[in-house]
Amino acid sequence: MKDLIKFTLQPELEKPSLIIGWREDPGRLGPNVINYLNKTMMNRSFCQISPVDFFSLGGVEIKGNVARLPESRFYAGVRNDLITFLSDFPHFNQYTFLNTILDIAQDYCKVEEVYTVSGLVSPIAHTIPRRTFAVYNEPALQEKLRGYGLRDISYEGPPHLNSYLLWAAQKRGLRGVSLWPQIPFYLAASEDPQAVRLTLSFLNRRFNLNADLKEWNENIKEQYVKISRLRARNPEVQTFIERLETGLSLTEAEEMKLAEEVPKFLRKKG
């Protein structure tokens, strides 16, 4: 256990809440939310989990022109009641990995509530108002968060790591909620500033962050303009998005086409 965890700072914390994001997230929701919170709260990494037991270390991955190993870090800053965690998805030993997060959260940081943020890939248009679904590991927290506009969800199927985390937290008596803002499927492979703003708005209200979300409003506007340009140029894309806007569904082939065209266009500069 000691070898798994490395502390670099010792922040003073007061029963904080922990907000968790994953790097490989639809619409880059997790990293965008956590990085923005870290910037706003002037957070610095204070603890990391060693990748050795949880990731295949057959080499390094290059992302954004930079080589790096998988990272799992906790961050703290000016707020003593809020910490963040950003990590790659563990490749194996998930149970040990999740319990290591919870050990640090509960035993060292005395965390009282856990929040996870992840994008929910949905068959919707980017112009349609989004909803945020939520899954709780205890009814009292569900009750406490009524009035924040979160929607309850029912689901049976293969679990996301967030559900596994909530379950492991529940076993230890630690309450938690996973937040699932909708991401239009054709933005899953790129960025979705609207989902980021939606999540940050919730966190802003919940934790009185006083965060300025102007930057995200600008990003949303910019993306709208870009996609409108694509719609004007590409009649097929226009038809597909229009159909989604009127509540109609697309065929698998049409969905694939849209999921290919939009990110390709968004990657272009200008």
Partner: protein, 314 residues
């Protein structure tokens, strides 16, 4: 991490039978059928989270209700003379995405199964699985028995339709057993516990098939009934065997007619299968170099296509 017992039954002279998924699900089908026939009672489990990732979550109206893991369950049944402990695993623990147990997790699980066996005083532990061999699917499979100590060889020879590895043509008493069926034998030997693996024969051309091979499960179950000195009605396998043979015939016919597979490969398999049909079960032998990799590859490709329809969403 460990074993969770719901109760601790007192057992007389028990033996333990273990079954996991594997080729043709031969072992698990035999052990599970025994469980059903005996109405064996569940009395414990191995806690799953250190071995498996969850496979299903149940969320109702926003509340996380349950997380389901593959189960590894213990059952017991009292005969009064030789009681029975059954261990049934939904999956084999593996470090990577393989069907067979490998690595540290598999080794730890073997120890936990043996811990339970020791606690309840099991005299012998039987694992069960598949022996991939050159046999035609119309023949009754034999059961290969591999003990973890030479002293047990004579015991096994008493059972009908059972052979030792040395009796298999060309084997010279050598071979290997994949996954927990084999590992458990090795770990039991380390702990000086008696263990035997019983493997029902399955034709090599079916080793990648997505369906069970009940004919071999029935053969293994017949050996179980001799060990327990009790009559077990195996007639329930008849319908399943009939259905499987129909599947096999249809599959082979499809293989022979698939034009994308080179004619040479198709002809070679047809000849091999005809030869096996003529030669009878006595000629069974481990799959060797004569069976070209190409044939097996092509067969597996077709099996994979059949499986695709069953894939779960991720």
């Amino acid at each position: 991490m460990g074993i969770r017992l719901y109760r601790e039954p007192e057992l007389v002279n028990p033996v333990m039978f273990c079954g996991w998924p594997g080729i043709g699900n031969i072992g698990i089908l035999a052990v599970d059928t025994l469980r059903k026939m005996l109405f064996a009672e569940e009395f414990g489990e191995i806690e799953p989270w250190d071995f498996f990732d969850p496979r299903k979550v149940v969320i109702t109206d926003g509340l996380l209700e349950d997380l389901e893991f593959p189960k590894s369950t213990f059952f017991f049944y009292r005969t009064g003379k030789r009681d029975v402990v059954l261990f049934i695993g939904d999956e084999q623990p593996a470090e990577e995405e393989t069907v067979y147990a490998r690595g540290e997790k598999a080794y730890r699980m073997s120890h936990l199964v043996l811990d339970a066996s020791e606690k309840f005083g099991c005299r012998t532990i039987y694992t069960s699985g598949a022996a991939v061999t050159k046999i035609h699917h119309s023949f009754k499979p034999r059961v290969w028995a591999v003990p973890n100590t030479p002293e047990l060889i004579d015991t096994m020879k008493d059972y009908k339709n059972t052979i030792c590895v040395s009796e298999i043509e060309g084997s010279d008493g050598q071979g290997s057993i994949s996954g927990l069926n084999g590992l458990l034998l090795g770990v039991a030997r380390e702990r000086e516990m008696n263990a035997i693996c019983l493997m029902g024969e399955i034709p090599y051309y079916l080793h990648g098939a997505p369906w069970p091979y009940p004919k071999a499960s029935q053969a293994v179950l017949e050996v179980f009934s001799e060990i327990l000195e009790m009559t077990i009605d195996v007639s329930q396998f008849a319908e399943m065997i009939q259905q499987t043979e129909k599947n096999i015939e249809e599959f082979l016919e499809n293989f022979f007619q698939t034009e994308t597979i080179p004619l040479e490969v198709r002809s070679k398999l047809r000849d091999e299968i005809e030869k096996l049909k003529r030669s009878g079960p006595a000629k069974s032998e481990p799959t060797g170099e004569e069976v070209t990799e190409l044939i097996l590859e092509r067969i597996d490709e077709l099996f994979k296509k059949e499986r695709k329809g069953d894939e779960r969403p991720h």
